[in-house]
């Protein structure tokens, strides 16, 4: 099979607000850095793939507004309405066709510009059955968390520990908007949103832009001595219906991980050295770990308490700080998980560097009310 690698990237620092830059100026900054980082010129890029969701941008048919700031004027561009990891997978697949050697991928978040994000999320619910109830959409996470704790045996306190760990990890990551040193009690004493979910269980929005350059095997090594290879990818959607979906596990994560492991030739998920996974809500990290087979059902909480997912543990998880520590970036959330993997696999993660990191997994979920996610596996070959 053909191969594809990520050979360069550029990003802006996730921040709670970014009034100094328009989205175009923010994306331009990320693009310039990605071109500089890879030594690629915009004219060498054969295909540009962006992600955006009109309701998050506040402009319909937003894809019309992306070319200028990427150097993609009059070139092949398309936008997909999904997380950045889906765009990387699309770029990967374009390269596998053999028709493209250099593809650019862009993702961004101007979440601070959405004045009532809960309304956008609520508007994604089924308009006939769910929206008329006028519930704050985080109730969906409350429903899911309740069922997850019930069926897995993990505890409320263990979910709080996820927040403590990820916010602590973010303290060492300059690309994070919500680092903090907190205790389990802080989470348990924070306001109830939708029982058992509390305010601090939920990640908060941030703004940032991120651009990647992907290249075919043929030219990757001429661009960088250490390309980060895309070894496997999977994506999946479970039943959108809140009434009939499987609330016991994240089926979309299970099946997309299975697809990615198969493509990557991974027999045992234990081969993976580090994982950057969705933790939009505290319990999601535990649920996703179990669903992807990165630990056994019902064991994630205990392993967390034992330090298994810490920086020096057997499987460091969300060393970047995850969405809880670094910020929830809507469709750019997955992109920043890839940023962390690339820094780690390139041994450029500084004080966060995970020893012997060579095979990493990134996973993303598109948030409530969706049951959609993707997994990607990256490897550095020495």
């Amino acid at each position: 099979m053909r191969k594809a690698a990520i050979v360069g990237m550029g990003y802006t620092v996730p921040q709670t607000i970014t009034p100094q830059l328009s989205y175009r100026e923010m994306i331009f900054e990320a693009a310039v850095k990605a071109y500089e980082n890879s030594g690629i010129h915009p004219k060498d890029v054969q295909s540009f793939i962006c992600v955006s969701e009109d309701f998050l941008e506040g402009v319909s048919i937003f894809d019309e507004y992306v070319p200028d700031q990427l150097g993609a004027n009059l070139k092949s561009v398309h936008t997909i309405s999904a997380d950045g990891i889906f765009a990387i997978i699309s770029g990967f697949l374009q390269i596998l066709t053999g028709k493209f050697d250099i593809v650019l991928v862009e993702a961004h978040s101007k979440a601070s510009n959405i004045l009532n994000p809960n309304e956008v999320i609520a508007f994604a619910q089924d308009p006939v059955y769910n929206q008329p109830l006028r519930l704050n959409p985080h109730y969906i996470a409350g429903l899911e968390m309740n069922r997850f704790l019930y069926s897995s045996g993990n505890t409320r306190e263990q979910c709080a520990k996820v927040v403590v760990k990820n916010k602590k990890n973010a303290l060492k990551n300059p690309l994070s908007a919500y680092p903090a040193k907190i205790e389990i009690e802080d989470v348990l004493n924070s306001a109830l949103l939708s029982d058992p979910l509390r305010k601090m269980d939920k990640s908060q929005h941030a703004d940032a832009a991120c651009v990647f350059i992907l290249a075919s095997e043929k030219i990757a090594k001429s661009i960088t001595p250490n390309p980060i290879w895309i070894k496997g990818a999977g994506w999946c959607s479970d039943d959108p219906s809140l009434e009939t979906r499987n609330w016991d596990e994240a089926v979309y994560a299970k099946l997309s991980a299975r697809q990615a492991y198969k493509m990557a030739g991974i027999q045992n998920p234990k081969q993976i050295n580090l994982a950057e996974i969705d933790d939009s809500y505290s319990y999601k990290e535990l649920q996703h770990l179990e669903s992807m087979g990165l630990c056994r059902k019902g064991e994630s909480g205990l392993l967390l308490e034992e330090g298994y997912f810490e920086h020096d543990g057997s499987l460091p998880v969300n060393i970047s700080g995850g969405n809880l520590g670094a910020g929830f970036l809507f469709e750019a959330s997955g992109a920043f998980k890839i940023v962390e993997l690339i820094l780690q696999l390139s041994k450029e993660a500084g004080c966060r560097q995970v020893k012997n990191a060579s095979l990493g997994l990134a996973q993303v979920w598109r948030g409530v009310p969706t049951a959609t996610g993707a997994v990607i596996i990256l490897e550095r070959e020495d």
Partner: protein
Amino acid sequence: MELKGIGLEEEIFKISKKSEKSMKMEFKGVSLKESDFKEKKILSLENKPNLKYAWDTGVAIGRFLAELKQGRLIGRKCCKCRRIMIPPRMFCEVCFKPNDEWIYLKDKGTVNTFSICYVSWDMQKLKEPQIPAVIEIEGASKMMGILHLLGEVEPKEVKIGMKVKAVWKEIDKREGAITDIKYFKPI
């Protein structure tokens, strides 16, 4: 947003029967009246999203709007391709590099294209038609300009290539928006 369910099954059945018989397959549809919805003869569900945004203007748009409030047009110059761009942006999309200088431009230009619009945005007939036009601003590069309305002119007098000038709102009524220019009028 509206979801419509049809409650007039019989009516539809009749029509589809008819079209089965005829050689031509015509789908005439069912005529519905406003009252059919009001009287709930047609099942429907209304839903209005409550979405609100406040876009960061950033450097380029922010300065452009601030200058409009002062009654001035400003553009940016790229020293590599020498283009002078309005509305301004902080990078040149052709050269793909940050551009270089702010340049004040005259508040007049030439009509590149125009149309005479006889319906309002929600398709109501207008008493006075509106005349949207693309105005190439004097001093800026070719194809650089402002989309605005033309005023103080009879629709039939408007021509491509016509010279026009901005008519500004009074200074205390300006708010840093494209509507600080009321319209462009012929010179």
